[in-house]
Symmetry: C2
Subunit: 354 residues, 2 copies
């Protein structure tokens, strides 16, 4: 099989971890008889913005809209460019305009990565967060009235459509159904957010009827975050709205000590548009340029990309190579107590792929 | 000094922990020369609802609106009565109609309470979460269109008023200013929630100018929840919107292993209306009636009530008595590895008060 991948390193350490991601993708592709073609793009970065006054060219959709997937580093550099310009001008644009309505992130305790939670071992924590990625709390509907007076107020709407809610729930239930535990947890807050969240609950209940083999439960977001810390072993697939999913998919990786190595997919499951695979970490201006960034999040995102393309074996081989690499202190980067630099860590994973 | 306290035990374990709360309040009052008068009310409970078809009498405001404070157990019994009836018919009504715009909760690692976080000791974690308690994401503005069709959608507005935002920020900055570390952290999500959250940030910046001695920072809620787990020692006073504060004030106690013993205050700082002090835990139908509920949350809420009334010494004596009690395994309840029942634990704290 042959795949065309759009490669966008972006800003900061995005540029440093990308070569390692590509190195490992190529190693896995070779071993598994997959052919990859990479097209490189310099937009969706501060450098591009500085030259062109916008984050992406006008024809960005033509440039990357036909690729089989987009492999993305990191974007944003708050000291130089406001988030709403950089993020809303690229990442969030992709999600909306390529209808990547699923944001998928694993929460898994890996060997060699210290968990902040007492007494948890690899194998104890292994679940997915499925986040709605196009609507909900991230709407652009709202405004301000009586500016600069004592009566000033702002409003912003949360918007949930039946289409939007049902399709993310369907994805989550199918994922749960495909896993041994077949367990789905829904994040809600219907006791406080009294209109949209009861609707979410209602759709979960309706969708659950179609998946009788899936056991499901729901928690209010406040106690759910508490349970991530107290009982991370309770979860298998956790589904939430755009905001709740955002929170849970940072908190989950934090509980496994892996914010710096967590991967993510922004997925259009129907394949009408390319999906974006990117590490959860940002561009990290504070450590950019030093060659010490941890490339595992980028590499693991490559494994998710293979999975999405249907190349399960290639994906699995990368995840296993990551596990073997992390288990060796000398192959880990500094943030994980090792002494490998970005390249050495990437090469180690590439060598381990089989 | 003489204070009139409205006592509302509510549902489930609320009724079991309340007598212990009162026992300790009385012990501390006696030692510190404070005079307390308790008026007991049976409303705001499922039992009341069953008899009267509503959670509270029509004249509830007259009945409890003139008291110096309200000491509240727990309300809710989801199997018998929907949350939106029980909670919105009592707890949330108090918050709105008594303008209790501050929800205040300590996050403190106590002796004898195992933290789920590895290697954290009492003293390492000690901060306050200040939550806006009347507006924000808990609005009742919104609705549904095209019901039961494919075009169905629901919207709900988040509403932030200048009055509402500024007064909670003022409270939080003053609290920070009064503490040795003088450090305030604001919870935001202005990179995703693009209208209300930038407004929140703007008001934080404006308010900060009035408190030059306070060091402040802000984090997006996703990484902030991660930092609660990874760096709980970073925080001193954390302020957030109604929803973000709700999340952080469950997650924080979870990180200190103390959800079952955490207290809270729903405060009207001006004293125009009585404030409500209640444990964070709910009515816990699963363990109600067994006499095993942990009364510390109720007792600790009493300490917060004394603080609020200006009886700092009495409040402090209760917190110290709690610490001494928790340090002894045999005085702790079962949930904390001890073998005391509710009454024995309450008596132990009352005896320790000095
Ligand atoms: C019961 C619920 C409505 C309430 C809230 O979300 O405010 C509770 O979680 C709390 O924190 O007091
Ligand atoms: C950068 C920000 C807008 C984004 C989000 O909130 O979606 C990020 O936190 C993420 O999770 O990808």
């Amino acid at each position: 099989k042959h795949y065309r991948i759009a490669v966008i390193p972006g800003d900061g350490i995005g540029k440093e971890v990308m070569p390692e991601g590509l190195r490992v993708l190529e190693a896995a592709a070779k071993k598994h008889g997959v052919s990859l073609h990479f097209d490189h793009f310099d937009f969706s970065s501060y450098d591009y913005y500085e030259k062109h006054g916008q984050m992406m060219p006008d024809d960005w959709k033509e440039k990357i809209g036909k690729h089989d997937a987009i492999y993305f580093g990191a974007v944003g550099w708050p000291a130089k460019i406001p988030d709403h310009v950089s993020l809303w001008g690229s990442l969030i644009k992709f999600r909306r305009e390529f209808d990547q309505y699923v944001n998928l992130r694993p929460v898994r305790l890996m060997p060699g990565v210290p968990s902040p939670l007492a007494g948890r071992k690899p194998g104890d924590i292994d679940f997915w967060v499925v986040r709605e990625n196009t609507e909900g709390e991230y709407s652009s509907v709202g405004g301000r009235m009586f500016p600069d007076t004592d009566r000033e107020f702002v409003t912003q709407q949360t918007v949930m459509t039946r289409t939007g809610v049902d399709r993310i729930l369907k994805f989550a239930f199918e994922l749960a159904q495909s896993r041994p535990k077949k367990h789905l947890t829904s994040a809600t807050k219907s006791n406080g957010i009294s209109i949209t969240m009861p609707y979410w609950d209602e759709r979960v209940e309706a969708m659950a009827k179609k998946y009788p083999s899936v056991k499901w439960d729901k928690y209010h977001i406040d106690i759910l975050t508490a349970n991530f810390v107290l009982h991370p072993d309770w979860f298998d697939v956790v589904v939430g709205s755009n905001l709740f999913g955002d929170i849970l998919s940072d908190l989950g990786p934090a509980c496994t000590g892996t914010i710096g190595i967590a991967p993510s997919g922004n997925i259009n499951p129907e394949g009408n548009f390319p999906s974006v695979f990117e590490p959860v970490h940002g561009s990290a201006p504070d450590i950019a340029g030093q060659g010490i960034a941890n490339p595992i999040g980028m590499i693991w995102s490559g494994a998710m990309m293979f999975e999405h393309l249907g190349e399960k074996e290639a994906g699995k081989s990368i995840v296993e190579a990551i596990e073997r690499t992390l288990a060796e202190r000398t192959l880990r980067t500094k943030d994980l107590g090792g002494n490998a630099d970005t390249t050495a860590c990437g090469k180690a994973v590439a060598d381990m792929v089989d």
